[in-house]
C-alpha cells in the first residue's frame, strides 16, 4: 500500500508533460532492439549504427532520394585518370565536442586502425578493401591509394573517431571497450548529438544537442531512446505520449493507430527482399565433393524457373504480409532504381500455374502413375523439404502457401520450421531443398551481389549458387568506374539470377512506423518518396525535425512532409483490450461462482 501511494506522486507530477517555452524539447523514440555497443568498431545492430551516426561523422553521407553518396566531412573529392588515387578534401570547420579541431589526421588514424586488423577491420574493413595506402598530406586532405579501381568509392560511411581519445585504447582493450559516458562527461564526438547517458544493452540512452555542429545545430535539444522488448507496450507508450516515435511495428498495428488524434502511422518501404531459396548444389568447399542430400529436382534450373510461375505473390502479400509489402521479382528492390533490372513483360513474375505445369512437362517432370510428377529419368521426385524460420510467422505462412501451390502442380512436399540459428546449420550441411529467408540490401549492391558468387559457398551463400558468367560480371562491376556501365553489368547479373532462379524473390519488405505528429514535424522519408522516417542511412531527420509549432518553417523545404493530423475515433488497439478485459471479468466471475458453489456445500461440515 505504501509503495502504491508513494508511487502515485511522481506519476501525477509527470503526467502533464507539455512543452513550454523554456523547457528543453526532447524527442523520445522507442526502439525494439537495444544498442549492442556505442563503440563504432564493435556493434552490429541497426540501432547502434543509428547512435554512431548521431555521435560521429563520416567522409561521405547518403542522399535522401536514393541513398547515393553525398558530401559530409569530405566536402569534395576527385579521382585520378586511372581510378587508383582518390583525394578527399576535409571540411575545416568541424571540431570535436571537447573543442579540439577535427583534421585529416583523425581520418588517417581511424582508417589505419581499421587496416591494422582486429574488431575494427571485422566491422569496417570491407570499405577499405584494396586500399594500398592512406595518407594525410595536410590537415584538410586525405589520399587513398588503391591496388585496383573500386566502384564502391566514394562511399565511406566509416565513423571518424578522435585520435586524441582513442589512441589510449589498446588493441587488447578494444575488444571490450564500451565508449560510454563516464563521470557525467559526454562521449567526445563530432556529430549533431553527444551521448550523455547509456550503456550497451541498457534500456534508455540520452543524447544532447551539439550546438557547434558544423552542419548547423538541430532544432531539438535532446534525443532519448527507450528500448521496448515487445511491440504492444511501445505502442501504448506512443498513445500515452511517453514516446514520440515507434518503429518496427506490423501492418495491423499501423492500421489500429491510423486515424488516432495526434498520431500518424505508415508502412515505409525498406530496401530489402524476402525469397524462397533453393539448394542449387551444396558442396564441400575443401574437396569440391557434393555435400548433403539436395533433391535432384531443385538442382535443375529449369525446374526452379518453372516454379517462378507457381507462386501467387499477390496472395502472399495479402495473407502473409497483411497487405504491407510489394510483390518481388529480383534481388535489387525498387528503392535502388538505377541498379534495378525489371523482368520483360512476357516473363514477369506472375501467378500462372498452367505455364508452370507446361514448363515442368517440357523439362521432363511429367505426372507419373501415382499422380505425382517424376524426375526426367522416371524416378519419383519424392517429398521436397521446405523449411521456414520459426521466429517469423510470415516465413511459416509463405512456405505453407508454397507447399500448397506445389501440391496443385502434383509435387509432394513437407514443411518444417526451425530456429534461425538451426536453419543456418542445416543450410551449411546442405540437407534441405528450399527455405524462406530474406536480405537487407545496402545502397551499394556489391555485398548483396557477392552472396551469389561461387567463392561465397560455405560462407555467406545460402543457395550454394555458382555461375561463372555471373562471377565474371561481378568482378567487372567491382572495379567499373563508369556509373552507367556498372549499372548495366549489375542489371545483367540480376537477369542471370532471374532465369537461373536460385532465389524466387517473393516480396519487398516494409517497416511500420508511428509517431506523434502533434509534437514533431519536418520529417522526410528515405528513399523519398515512399521510404522510412527513421533508421535511415544518415541522421537527416534528427537534425531537421522541428517541434510541431514551428512546422511552417520547413514547409517550403523540398521533400519534407507536412505531417497531417487526421481526426478519428477509437483505434483497434483499445477495442482489443476492452474485449480482452471483458473476457477476463467474465472468466473471473465464472471461476469465482463455481468455487463459491462448491464451497457452499462444505460450510456446515467445519468442526
Amino acid at each position: 500500500m505504501a509503495l502504491a501511494l508513494a508511487s502515485l506522486a511522481p506519476g501525477l507530477a509527470l503526467a502533464p508533460a507539455t512543452a513550454s517555452e523554456d523547457e528543453p524539447v526532447t524527442f523520445t523514440v522507442a526502439y525494439l532492439n537495444e544498442v549492442d555497443s556505442f563503440n563504432p568498431f564493435l556493434g552490429i545492430e541497426a540501432s547502434s549504427f543509428e547512435m554512431w551516426s548521431l555521435m560521429y561523422d563520416s567522409l561521405t553521407g547518403y542522399a535522401m532520394e536514393d541513398m547515393q553518396p553525398t558530401p559530409a566531412l569530405a566536402s569534395e573529392w576527385e579521382t585520378s585518370e586511372d581510378g587508383l588515387t582518390w583525394t578527399f578534401t576535409i571540411r575545416d570547420d568541424a571540431t570535436w565536442s571537447d573543442g579540439e579541431p577535427l583534421t585529416a589526421q583523425d581520418v588517417l588514424y581511424t582508417y589505419e586502425r581499421i587496416r591494422d586488423g582486429g574488431p575494427e577491420r571485422a566491422t569496417w574493413g570491407v570499405y577499405l578493401k584494396g586500399v594500398e595506402s592512406v595518407t594525410a598530406p595536410d590537415d584538410t586532405t586525405v589520399v587513398l591509394q588503391l591496388e585496383e579501381p573500386s566502384a564502391l568509392l566514394p562511399l565511406l560511411p566509416i565513423p571518424i573517431v578522435p585520435e586524441h581519445v582513442w589512441s589510449d585504447v589498446s588493441d587488447d582493450d578494444m575488444r571490450s571497450y564500451g565508449n560510454e559516458p563516464t563521470g557525467g562527461e559526454p562521449v567526445v564526438g563530432s556529430g549533431p548529438f553527444r551521448l550523455v547517458e547509456g550503456t550497451a544493452g541498457g534500456s534508455t540512452y540520452r543524447l544532447e544537442v551539439n550546438p557547434d555542429y558544423w552542419g548547423g545545430a538541430p532544432h531539438i535539444d535532446e534525443v532519448v531512446v527507450r528500448v521496448f522488448k515487445s511491440e504492444d507496450p511501445a505502442i501504448q507508450a506512443l498513445v500515452t505520449g511517453e514516446v514520440d516515435f515507434v518503429e518496427g511495428i506490423n501492418a495491423l498495428q499501423v492500421q489500429s493507430l491510423e486515424g488516432r488524434d495526434g498520431i500518424s502511422a505508415q508502412m515505409g518501404d525498406s530496401p530489402g527482399f524476402d525469397e524462397i531459396a533453393f539448394n542449387t548444389g551444396s558442396i564441400d568447399t575443401d574437396t569440391g565433393e557434393p555435400l548433403g542430400d539436395p533433391n535432384p529436382a531443385v538442382l535443375d534450373p529449369a525446374f526452379r524457373w518453372a516454379l517462378n510461375f507457381a507462386i501467387d505473390r499477390d496472395q502472399i502479400i495479402e495473407t502473409a504480409y497483411q497487405g504491407a509489402g510489394q510483390a518481388g521479382d529480383t534481388i535489387i528492390p525498387p528503392a535502388y532504381a538505377g541498379f534495378r533490372w525489371e523482368p520483360p513483360e512476357e516473363d514477369a513474375a506472375t501467378y500462372d500455374p498452367e505455364r508452370a505445369a507446361q514448363l515442368l512437362d517440357e523439362a521432363g517432370y511429367t505426372v507419373g502413375d501415382d499422380g505425382f510428377r517424376t524426375l526426367p529419368n522416371g524416378d519419383p521426385i519424392g517429398k521436397l523439404r521446405l523449411y521456414a524460420r520459426s521466429d517469423s510467422q510470415t516465413s511459416v505462412d509463405v512456405i505453407e502457401l508454397f507447399s500448397e501451390w506445389l501440391a496443385d502442380l502434383d509435387i509432394d512436399s513437407e514443411v518444417r520450421a526451425f530456429e534461425s540459428s538451426k536453419l543456418t546449420d542445416i543450410i551449411y550441411e546442405g540437407t534441405f531443398d528450399a527455405f524462406e529467408w530474406g536480405w537487407y540490401v545496402e545502397p551499394d549492391p556489391s555485398s548483396m551481389l557477392s552472396y551469389m558468387t561461387c567463392d561465397e559457398r560455405g560462407n555467406w551463400s545460402d543457395s550454394w549458387y555458382c555461375n561463372e558468367e555471373y562471377d565474371t560480371l561481378f568482378e567487372q562491376q567491382r572495379i567499373e568506374q563508369d556509373d552507367a556501365a556498372r549499372e548495366e553489368q549489375v542489371q545483367q547479373m540480376q537477369e542471370i539470377l532471374y532465369y537461373d532462379a536460385p532465389y524466387l524473390v517473393t516480396a519487398y519488405s516494409t517497416v511500420g512506423e508511428a509517431w506523434r505528429s502533434d509534437r514533431f514535424a519536418c520529417l522526410r522519408q528515405q528513399p523519398d518518396p515512399g521510404g522510412v522516417y527513421l533508421i535511415q542511412y544518415g541522421v537527416h531527420n534528427y537534425v531537421n525535425m522541428r517541434p510541431a509549432a514551428e512546422a511552417d518553417e520547413c514547409a517550403g523545404e523540398e521533400g519534407t512532409t507536412q505531417l497531417s493530423q487526421e481526426a478519428g475515433g477509437e483505434g483497434g488497439v483499445s477495442t482489443a483490450f476492452l474485449v480482452g478485459g471483458g473476457v477476463v471479468l467474465v472468466g473471473l466471475l465464472a471461476v469465482g461462482g463455481v468455487v463459491a458453489m462448491r464451497r457452499r456445500g462444505t460450510v456446515g461440515d467445519r468442526e
Binding site: 574488431p119 544493452g201 532519448v224 511517453e242 555467406w460
Partner: protein, 338 residues
C-alpha cells in the same frame, strides 16, 4: 498418536557434521555445473559470428577477424581450458553481442531482476501466507471462497497477458481515466536512480511489473499454506490446545500456523533461489533489462559467455538457497539430520 520407535534408534549426527556434509554436497554440484555449463551451450545450433554478422560481415576476412578476436577460432578443448582458468580467476569472458565483460553485464542486469522478482516474491509470500492462514482457518467462509477462487484465476493467467492488461488499465487508462503508471522501463531517462527522487521514480516504474508478478505468484503460497493448515487443524494437539481454553487466535498463531509453516518454508526457499533467474515474460512486457531477458536473448546468438555466466550465477543461487534451506531445516526439525 503413533507407537514409539523401535529400540534400535538411529543415531543422530551432530549439527556440525550435518552442515559440513550439506556444504560439501553443494560444492560438488557447483563443480559439476561448471563443467556441464561449458559443453551444454556448445551443443546449441548456430555460429555466433554468422548469426551476428548476417548482412554485416560481408567477407570471409571479416568473419575470421571476429572469430580470432574473441577466441572462437581455437579448438574446443583449448577453449574449455581457457574457460576453466578464467572462471576460477573470476573472469567470465566477454559478451559476443554486447562486447563488454560478462561480469559487468550480469551485475548491471542483476539489480533490476533482484528488485523486481525479489520484491514480488516477498510480497507474494507475505500476502499469500496471510491469505492461506485466513482461508484455511475458516474454510468455506466467504473470504476463503473469494481468495482461493481469485488466486487460482490469477495463477492460471499467462503473466504477459496479465501485464498487458494492467498496462492498459493503469498505464494507458481506458476512456476518460488517466494513466497512472509508465508503460515500461526501469526509470525515467533523466533521473539518477540512486537519488531520493530516483528511488521514487524506480518504485513508480516497478509498480505494475511487481503487481503483475505478485498476483501471479500469490496462489503458490496461499494454497500451500491453506492446505497444510487444514492438515494441522485435524491434529490432536490442536484439540488439546482448545481444551486448555486458549482463545481461537492463540490456537491458530501459536500452534497450528507454526507447524503448518514448514512446507511453506520449502517453497519460499526454493523461490528465493529462482529470484536471480528472473521473470522472462514480465521482463519482456515491461522492458525491464533483467537477467532472464539477458539469458533468453543470448540463446539466439548463441552468446556462449553470457549463457555460461548467467547459468553459473543462477545455479549457484539455487544451490546456495537449497543449502540455506537444508541448514535452516536442520535447526527447525532435528529429524532431518538422520
Amino acid at each position: 498418536m503413533t507407537e514409539l520407535p523401535a529400540p534400535t534408534r538411529v543415531r543422530r549426527r551432530s549439527y556440525r557434521r550435518y552442515a559440513a556434509g550439506k556444504a560439501l554436497g553443494a560444492l560438488g554440484s557447483l563443480g559439476f555445473m561448471l563443467v556441464v555449463n561449458f559443453f551444454l551451450f556448445r551443443v546449441l545450433p548456430g555460429d555466433p559470428a554468422r548469426t551476428l554478422g548476417r548482412g554485416r560481415f560481408t567477407t570471409q576476412e571479416q568473419l575470421e577477424e571476429f572469430n580470432a578476436t574473441y577466441g572462437l577460432d581455437q579448438s574446443l578443448p583449448q577453449q574449455f581450458v581457457t574457460y576453466v582458468q578464467n572462471t576460477l580467476t573470476g573472469d567470465l569472458g566477454i559478451s559476443l553481442r554486447y562486447r563488454v565483460p560478462v561480469s559487468d553485464l550480469i551485475i548491471d542486469r542483476m539489480w533490476p531482476t533482484l528488485l523486481l522478482v525479489g520484491t514480488s516474491t516477498l510480497l507474494a509470500a507475505v500476502i499469500g501466507i496471510w491469505m492461506g492462514v485466513n482461508s484455511g482457518w475458516r474454510r468455506g467462509s466467504r473470504f476463503d471462497r473469494g481468495a482461493t477462487g481469485s488466486s487460482l484465476t490469477l495463477y492460471s493467467m499467462p503473466e504477459w497477458w496479465l501485464g498487458l492488461l494492467l498496462i492498459y488499465l493503469l498505464a494507458v487508462g481506458p476512456g476518460p481515466l488517466p494513466g497512472l503508471f509508465p508503460t515500461g522501463g526501469l526509470h525515467s531517462p533523466d533521473v539518477d536512480p540512486s537519488s531520493p527522487a530516483g528511488v521514487l521514480d524506480v518504485a513508480w516504474h516497478l509498480t505494475l511489473p511487481v503487481l503483475t508478478l505478485t498476483l501471479a505468484y500469490l496462489a503458490d503460497y496461499a494454497l500451500i499454506m491453506r492446505s497444510s493448515l487444514l492438515d494441522e487443524i485435524g491434529e490432536d494437539y490442536v484439540t488439546t490446545a482448545r481444551a486448555k481454553g486458549l482463545r481461537d487466535v492463540q490456537v491458530r498463531n501459536r500452534h497450528a500456523v507454526r507447524n503448518a509453516l514448514l512446507p511453506t518454508t520449502t517453497v519460499v526457499a526454493l523461490s528465493i533461489g529462482f529470484v536471480v533467474t528472473g521473470a522472462i515474460t514480465v521482463e519482456t512486457v515491461f522492458s525491464i533489462p533483467g537477467l532472464g531477458l539477458l539469458a533468453t536473448e543470448a540463446l539466439t546468438v548463441p552468446d556462449y559467455w553470457v549463457l555460461q555466466g548467467t547459468l553459473l550465477v543462477s545455479t549457484a543461487a539455487v544451490i546456495f538457497a537449497n543449502l540455506a534451506a537444508n541448514l535452516v531445516y536442520g535447526l527447525l526439525d532435528p529429524r532431518v539430520r538422520t
